[in-house]
Symmetry: C2
Subunit: 402 residues, 2 copies
Amino acid sequence: MLAGDPVLVDVVPAAQAIPTLGEHTILHAGPPIEWARMCGPMRGAVMGIAVFEGWAPDLATAGSMADGGEFSFHPNHHFNAVGPMTGLTTLSQPVLVVENRTFGNRAYCTINEGLGKVMRFGGNDKEVLDRLAWLRDVLGPAMGATLREMGGMALKSTVAQGLTMGDEMHQRNVACSGLTLRELAPVMAGNANDSAALAEMLTFIGGNHQFFLNIAMALGKALMDPVRDIDGSSVVTAMSRNGTDFGIRVSGTGDTWFVAPVEQPEGLYFPGFTEADANPDMGDSTIIETIGLGGFAMAAAPAVAGFVGAGSASEAANFTRAMGEITVAENPEWTIPALDYQGVPAAIDIRLVVETGRTPTINTGIAHREQGVGQVGAGVVRAPMDCFEQALVSFAESLGVA
Amino acid sequence: MLAGDPVLVDVVPAAQAIPTLGEHTILHAGPPIEWARMCGPMRGAVMGIAVFEGWAPDLATAGSMADGGEFSFHPNHHFNAVGPMTGLTTLSQPVLVVENRTFGNRAYCTINEGLGKVMRFGGNDKEVLDRLAWLRDVLGPAMGATLREMGGMALKSTVAQGLTMGDEMHQRNVACSGLTLRELAPVMAGNANDSAALAEMLTFIGGNHQFFLNIAMALGKALMDPVRDIDGSSVVTAMSRNGTDFGIRVSGTGDTWFVAPVEQPEGLYFPGFTEADANPDMGDSTIIETIGLGGFAMAAAPAVAGFVGAGSASEAANFTRAMGEITVAENPEWTIPALDYQGVPAAIDIRLVVETGRTPTINTGIAHREQGVGQVGAGVVRAPMDCFEQALVSFAESLGVA
């Protein structure tokens, strides 16, 4: 995990990255789930993406097609991919390609849509679909060409810099998004033959403080996949939620999902919204915590502690210290200035989680529980203990010690 | 001082900003100084700028002209301007224009040249002069047009964000330089008709972590100038060094400079250099500390504490706390996350400096003592106590209490 060398190398259509991704196939966040059990925002996103892909003429028809079993649903995680919140990946969407140069594997994530009404929070109107089309037709191809010309963008050092600039890479990506723009903009400018389109792309990236989130997610997936299937390893390789269930995977138990009902985040709500509007926890973005960032790196990002309602800046370090109790290493390349350059706590051990009774702290956005509304707040949520207990029993059985 | 509203509004040739700036007139950093007493790097810069302006055909002739008294030298501070290190301002150089919208005054500073061989550290060869020509002919006009189209860029909020991202605005401007690029790039792209030139400009800004330093300096000058000449005010309005002398100005004593020999920074040296190579402290950039940033905001920038050799990250807060003892306010709009959002210590009071025996801590670059070499390190330096003692006596005399 610590030896990985993630590099953002390309942006390509999902169908090119994942050749088995066909018509009417929809990848989603979290462990496996069928249409009938999907939460409101994920249903909204499914209907929207079916219209976007041209599989349905309108949202109502898309809903009927889903009811009729016409779509095939699979977790992103089963296809080397991750997606934020609803996390839908379908064939024509552009995906970021992160290559782990140490191990040769690749991971994929769609491009962050920005704030406001977006599909990852269940939005599905014309504004949402028009933006997805622009990502597919304009920004995606331009970013791909730029990254190929650059020979890729090394991400380990970007994250290291971000940690010294107040980012924890889950709810705060201000610095890393800026660092990314700084690397891409000159090359994009050199290639541009339409200054208005270039200006629009730079405005989009520069105006989206979470632009780096999806890059960090693909980075996380690229780092953790080589850790899968190590005999006797009790390290968590994935944590993920589909808005209904929370699931984890553990290295020594292969690709089995250990699943429990997802919890409700505790946090702060945007004006006009309350906890009653909130959908339960959702998204593959917990891959960020799985690699020791997000809630695990809260000490690097005191501003996030306030944003997610987790207390004062000086209390942020407590979250990082607590996560040190359930991890087996510190990452010497990703360090936190406020802790005198202590490394972020890395590699969650299910034995330590069960032994200490501490579950991972996750910084998360909060979606409205109904489709089509969008983000209503941000908060902190705990991974359910039940996932870790199930995993530990299974792990012990696999070793013959249960 | 706290009410000021600094906005970067334009980039124009210095002769346009400062109409009294004529041929053979050279503005420099620090209090007044004649050619005979100038240090090596400032002499090197003077010779270089004379060639750049076309006043001399080569460096040797420029030196002879300086010996012959053919140049007229004045402090930047006498012309609403500031300049880093040697700090030379001459008529054809482009200057950043910061307007304090609360009080209507304007302040000027040249554009940061980047790292490596640069005139502010005494460089004067073809590489240095070619870069100055590019700033004059390409980047300066493009930035000016961009800022006029944007209606200016508000700087108070940029600094506030920078403080949450590890900048102290003197030796670290990584975040603010990135935030500036993010605001300028889309507009520059929209105006561009030469994609190669645009790419070169974005590469220059994006590749220079100290790009924002000169903007912050003009901001500092724009904030402090309205504080000048307040009867009975013992607040420091300027601190500055010319490489030979350190000078301060105090509000209640008008534009008098209180001067003492400048001190030697203590710091870390780049590979191959030692303290024996170091020029004494130099530049108008101490305007940064005068407004409560730089060494005063060290707690916001633990990475700087390491860079300037001032101890571990956790010790950075000690610098900020100590500066709180010699200032009369905290800035409620510029706050430090690691101190639970305490404001930076603002408004140095000469009475508190003399009473506590603590002089201001300044984070500074270190120039080679010989002309033409450049930066050799970075460190911390103290303002000489003698300046404050002289100022206090004069201040007391002005009030009839000495």
